[in-house]
Point group: C2
Chain length 149, copies 2
DNA sequence: CGAATATATATCGCGTGCGATTTTATCGCA
DNA sequence: TGCGATAAAATCGCACGCGATATATATTCG
């Protein structure tokens, strides 16, 4: 079957599609690595954040991940079901749920420290090159967020 | 509630997270615009590709979108249910399904031509600036795809 | 020709994302 | 004090993405 080369015409010049498809590509790189840890990519992000500071609330996690409780609550419940975190209402403010790593969760979070190195290799770039690109994309993201309806 | 500023520490320096969260931000910009057309973002991409060349196969669409039939088949069926496309087996090769815009679909695809301009405005950047960034990201994507397991 | 193989699409299950709504708790303020 | 407004999570429905599998058609090769 004759096939078009990707990006043949219509989608070329669409930065949004470049970002979208790069996200898909990143996911494909992460998947086999994270499978070994039994985590999905968003779950991995949550574990990294908790490794940095444990006992954060659902809202604090959401602020850093740009995700909402409607996405995070089920995700965190799956982490809980896997025995990696506990969920507890804050006694000071019963509206708030605090998420804490279990021993097993902390062990997995430590193991996860080797993930970025493996992904770096797949980019075929230096950390400096990636840093330049990252800053440009983050600035774009923040502009988009500021201008979103 | 005291909240961390996004990207406080743990996720800074992770290009993959920058790409991931920029994808979410783009989606938020596109959503209200595409809602007017009754399309999701991946559906919009498919319509743009078909506007460029009609009657493409599921596989050809997938090659350009980096998506698989398990994602595309349901998506295209929803476009069909909305009366925007027709799906027909190719008489030369009965394995292949060709997707063709209906009159209504072509009309929507034409309307969609105004979308990029609105999104451009939300980026607060010139097309030239975005072009530089796009090329860098596309190169990264292609490297990732080449190095994916 | 016919069996093995390859290809194109479809189906299924699971985990996101997110808009809309609900529930529970806290706060502001007369 | 009490009541309306605000805030934090949770719930629900829908549309992706994707791995694994199934099905139907084409192709290859003995």
């Amino acid at each position: 079957m004759k096939r078009k080369s990707p990006d043949a015409d219509a989608l070329g010049g669409h930065l949004c599609f470049a970002v979208y498809s790069t996200g898909l590509a990143f996911n494909r790189v992460y998947k086999p690595i994270l499978d070994r840890l039994g985590l999905t990519y968003p779950q991995y992000l949550a574990m990294v954040i908790l490794r940095g500071e444990d006992g954060q609330t659902v809202g604090e996690l959401g602020d850093q991940l740009f995700l909402d409780s409607s996405t995070l609550t089920p995700l965190i419940k799956r982490l809980e079901a896997a025995g990696l975190v506990t969920r507890r209402r804050d006694s000071e403010d019963e509206r708030v749920v605090r998420v804490t790593l279990t021993d097993k969760g902390r062990a997995v979070a430590e193991e996860a420290k080797c993930v970025p190195g493996e992904v770096l290799a797949a980019t075929g770039r230096t950390p400096e090159q990636l840093g330049v690109l990252e800053r440009a994309i983050v600035q774009l993201r923040d502009t988009l967020r500021a201008n979103a309806a």
